[in-house]
């Protein structure tokens, strides 16, 4: 196991054993079998040296900068940081020193110099209302900028739920006409990394894959990397055994909650949410929502904001995050809902699209 990457790491004081340990952990996070860690170490360490670092252009649209915060604050200068050192981040408004015309020049220079080869990262949704006037940079609408920059990209990473699915800007009634990257760009490979914000290591994993193999990793039907979004939160949850035994917390301060039982009845969206929080955790592996005693909000699924209340137990077996699309299904869902969680307490939800009120929280 030797090659340019391992030599670069060695120069920065990272030993082979450290790298192997990192790969073992990354493989575990990617839900790969333990033996894959060594295979990844071999593949990454022996990847041919790029003559120059791959160019990355990062465009922010209708977003809150939470995705950038998640990525940049996730790690002390460690191996993940070193993998970021292996790219050339040529345009990122929040991080770059340049501003105004200088910044736009940098963008166009990078696009020209690396045409057809750069990786485009997008965070935020794109507003189509009022001819895109809701969000403009340098006098151009986000729609025009995206089309222009996407043209020369090798691949596009839609970072966060807004870029991947429209996210919170698209929430009912979607005043700006927000749409996702894949609603606009149809002729480029696009990988979605949803989450509000997404897990930093997913970004690192996708980037490591792009650096190693020059392509995007295997994706599911919603364009997400299978390695991280292959299973639901529920399937990988350490509280899952309590679900199987029928042991549920009924309120946030009852005996069940204190014993760490399943949060299904308190509205946990884990069973319908595909993400890696249960294994990767947050804040350097410190904890994650369910471990802190709160159910999953389902933030990495399309239209999670309109899925009918964070504290309502899931009420239908199919894909409740999509149930608003047809009134008939919503009606059926309401029927099941009465028979289950909110039995006799309230009238059925007429539609999945409703405001979360204090009454929901006090269910």
């Amino acid at each position: 196991m030797h090659g340019p990457l391992i030599d670069t790491l060695a120069r920065q004081g990272v030993t082979r054993r450290t790298f192997m340990k990192y790969c073992a952990t990354l493989a575990s996070m990617m839900a790969l079998p333990p033996a894959a860690g060594r295979a990844m170490a071999e593949a990454m360490a022996s990847a041919p040296a790029a003559t120059r670092r791959p160019s990355v252009i990062w465009l922010p649209f209708q977003e809150c900068t939470g995705c950038t915060e998640s990525i940049t604050r996730s790690h002390s200068p460690t191996l993940e940081g070193l993998i970021f050192d292996a790219i050339s981040l040529d345009y990122q408004e929040t991080l770059m020193a340049a501003a105004g015309h200088q910044a736009e020049e940098a963008l166009h220079a990078a696009m020209k110099a690396n045409e057809g080869k750069y990786l485009l990262i997008v965070d935020g949704s794109i507003p189509l209302g009022l001819d895109g006037a809701y969000s403009c940079i340098a006098g151009k609408s986000n729609l025009d900028t995206l089309k222009e920059v996407a043209k020369g990209a090798a691949a596009i990473v839609a970072m966060g739920s807004c870029a991947a699915y429209g996210g919170i800007p698209k929430a009912n009634p979607n005043p700006t006409g927000a749409v996702s990257v894949s609603d606009i760009i149809k002729d480029k490979p696009i990988i979605n990394i949803p989450g509000c914000p997404p897990i930093p290591v997913v970004m690192t994993g996708v980037l490591a894959h792009f650096l190693t193999f020059g392509s995007l990793p295997e994706m599911d039907s919603k364009g997400r990397p299978k390695a991280f979004y292959g299973e639901t939160i529920h399937d990988r949850c350490y509280r899952r055994p309590f679900y199987d035994q029928g042991k549920f917390a009924k309120t946030f301060d009852d005996e069940g909650a204190r014993n760490g039982w399943c949060l299904f009845e308190l509205g946990c969206k884990g069973p319908v949410t595909y993400n890696a929080c249960a294994t990767v955790k947050w804040n350097g592996g410190t904890s994650w929502p369910v471990e802190s005693g709160h159910g999953c909000l389902g933030c990495s699924e399309p239209d999670f904001w309109d899925a009918g209340g964070f504290y309502k137990a899931l009420s239908m077996p199919a894909d409740p995050l999509k149930m608003a699309s047809t009134a008939a299904i919503a009606g059926a869902a309401a029927g099941v809902a009465i028979s289950f969680a909110n039995r006799g307490k309230k009238s059925a939800a007429k539609s999945a699209h409703e405001t979360t009120t204090l009454a929901d929280l006090e269910k």
Binding site: L79, R240, P271, M316, V336, S339, F340
Partner: protein, 143 residues
Amino acid sequence: MSIEAIPVVVINSSENLVAADSGLSGNAPVLLREIAELAHRLLDSGEASAIDLRALPLTPADLEWLRETLGQGQVVATLEAEGESMLSETVCPGVWWVTHHNENGAVASEFIEVTFVPELLKAHPEDVKIGLEHLELLISDLS
């Protein structure tokens, strides 16, 4: 969604054996059989294998039970690499408990490895070469 609507239901045969409020899920004891299977494989074919403990539905109490049951063997090795890693042999030789901590001290990943010597402990030939260069430098300084 009704509780029965989710298709996969694990039936815990040992559920009756464990106390209700101990935090034990009943998923740990079955792992002993899997470890035995892997130990057979090691003896028969020399093939090493590992179980990713983070990939299994185990509660903290389950992990503690497993750790206690497997016990502490004669060998404990510590690796300092972006946080501490502990590789310790259990009472069953060839069965290793491997815990990787990150630089904040949190557990980054945890495995049971069934192998004669964990791969991480062996020195890589490339590293031995570097060590040899260093040794030769030390020797040349003697004269």
